[in-house]
Amino acid sequence: MKDTYIFAIESSCDETAAAIVKNGHEVIASTVSTQIATHALFGGVVPEIASRKHIENITMVLENTLNEAHMKMEEMDAIAVTYGPGLIGSLLVGLQAAKTLAFIYDKPLVPVHHIAGHIYANNIEKSMEFPLIALVVSGGHTELVYMKEDYSFEFLGGTLDDAVGEAYDKVARVIGLPYPGGPAIDKLAHEGKDTYDLPIPLDDDTYNFSFSGLKSAVINVNHNELDRGNKIRKEDLACSFQNRVIDILTKKTMKALEEKQVKNLIIAGGVAANKGLRDRFEKLCQEKNVNLTVPPLKYCTDNAVMIGAAGYYAYKLGRISDLNLNAVATEKLN
C-alpha cells in the first residue's frame, strides 16, 4: 500500500507547531516553537501576544519541519490543521497558513479538532486499541470521551468552568509558584501531606467536572491563614489540592470504564504529564485490569504530530474541507 504523508499545523494556544506524520503512526519531522517564556511574564497566556508570536514564527516552523524531513510540500498527501477549539487569533494563523498551502499546492485540507489531536498522541508508534475511554486534561480542556473505533467520538462530559490545567495555574499563582503551575504544584505536592480540608469538586453522577469551587477554596484557605497571621504550608496545600483533583478525575474516569465496559484507557493533554495523576491511574488500572496508555511527554503538550496522526484518519474517512474552513473558539468533539 502507498504511504500517506500528512503535513500538520497546530497553533491553538501558545505553541506554533508543524509536523509530518506517515500513515498516522510514524513521526517524520516535528517542530514546536513555544511561547511559555513570553507568557510567564504575565502569569498566563495573553491571547493578542500569542497571535503576534504565531505569525512571527509560522514560516520558520514550516521550513524547519520540511528541512528536518528532507521532503517537499509536493510530496504530502494532505494538509491537516487544528481549526478549534482554542484562541481564535492564534488558531487563525495556523489555519490561514494551512489554507494557503492547500491552495497553492492543490492539496486536500483536513480540519482536525484539537481534542482529537490530543487523543491521537496515543497513536504514535503503536495503534490505539478500541473501544476506549479517553481522559483529556490540559490547560484548556478537561473531557471524557468514549471511542468505539477510529475517529468515532462520544462526548461523555467535560468541565463546566475552569479546565484542570487552568486551575493549577491559578492555584500556583495564589501560593506563589511560577507559571505554568502544573509541574510546580505536582513537584511540591510530593513533598507535602494532605492536611487541608478542601472539597471534592462536583462529586456527582455525571461525567462533568468543575474546578472553580476548588480553586476558590484554596484562595480562601490561603486568605484565612494569612488573616490569622499563620504561614501557609505550601507543600501541604499543593498536596491537598492535587489529591482532590486526582480523586475526582480518577473516580469519574473509572466509572466511565465500568459503565461502558471498556478495558482501554488513554490519558492525553498537558496534565497527562502530571506524575501524581499518572501514579494513581497506574495503580487503579492495574487493580481493575485496564490497559492504560499515556503519550510520551513531548506529545502530551501541544504539538502538530498529534494533529498529523488524527488528520490521517480524518483524511482516510474523507473528512476534508474546502477553503472556507473557519476557526472556532469552542466546539464539541464529534
Binding site: L41, V46, R52, E63, L101, L323
Partner: protein, 205 residues
C-alpha cells in the same frame, strides 16, 4: 511582472492580480465579518478569473497594517506563507496608502482607520502616494490639528469624522512600488503601531 495584491486590514477585502498596466482580476468588497472563512475563496476566484496559477506570480504586495490586528494577520499570514513556499518576492505596503491610492486630488489625502478611544491609525499622503505624515497611532483631534489651514480630504470606511470612501488604484500602487526591494518572508510581520494592552500595563507597573 505579475503581481498579487492583498489587503485585509479593515472589513474591506482587497485582492487583485495585475501587471504594471493591466488588471486581470480585482476583488474590492466590504464584508460584514468573518474575513477568515471567505478570504481564500476570494483569492482562489481571482486566480480563476485571471487564468493564472500561483506559480505564475512574480511579486506579492501585501498591506501589513495598520488596522484590525486579526484582519492584518489574515492577509500577512497568507502572503508570507505563499512567498516562503514559492519563493515569490514580497513587498510590504501600508493599508492607509492603499485606501487613498485612487484619489487624484491635489489636496492632502488623510487616510485613517478607527482605533477606538477617540484615536485612529492615520497618515497623510499626496496624490503621488508619498507620505506627508507617516502612518501612526494618533488622537483624531491631534490629527485635525495638523491639518489646520490646509486643503485636505478624509478617506476612510469609518466615521470618526466626515469621510470619503476609499478608492483603490491597483496599477498606481504596483507602479509606485515597482522598484521596492523584497523582504525575507520569515521577517515579514504586521505593523500594529501599538503594543498590546498587556504589554502597556506591564510597562506602567
Amino acid at each position: 511582472m505579475k503581481t498579487l495584491l492583498i489587503s485585509t486590514c479593515t472589513n474591506r477585502i482587497i485582492v487583485a492580480l495585475a501587471d504594471n498596466s493591466t488588471i486581470f482580476s480585482f476583488c474590492n468588497e466590504i464584508i460584514e465579518n468573518q474575513m477568515s472563512n471567505i478570504i481564500m475563496e476570494k483569492v482562489e476566484n481571482c486566480f480563476k478569473e485571471a487564468s493564472l496559477k500561483p506559480t505564475e506570480i512574480d511579486r506579492i504586495l501585501v498591506a501589513v497594517g495598520p488596522g484590525s490586528y486579526t484582519g492584518i494577520r489574515i492577509g500577512v499570514t497568507i502572503a508570507k506563507t505563499y512567498s516562503w513556499a514559492l519563493k515569490t518576492k514580497i513587498i510590504p505596503i501600508s493599508s492607509l496608502e492603499v485606501m487613498v491610492s485612487g484619489y487624484q486630488d491635489d489636496k492632502l489625502l488623510v487616510s485613517y482607520i478607527d482605533a477606538r478611544r477617540n484615536a485612529c491609525f492615520g497618515a497623510i499622503y499626496n496624490n503621488k502616494l508619498n507620505p506627508i505624515l507617516n502612518d501612526q497611532y494618533i488622537l483624531i483631534d491631534d490629527l485635525k490639528e495638523k491639518l489646520k489651514g490646509k486643503d485636505y480630504i478624509f478617506v476612510s470606511d469609518d466615521k470618526l469624522v466626515e469621510s470619503n470612501k476609499p478608492k483603490i488604484d491597483i496599477i498606481k500602487l504596483i507602479n509606485k512600488h515597482l522598484n521596492d526591494a523584497g523582504v525575507n518572508p520569515h521577517s515579514l510581520n504586521p505593523v500594529y503601531l501599538k503594543k498590546t494592552e498587556a504589554e502597556e500595563s506591564l510597562n506602567h507597573d
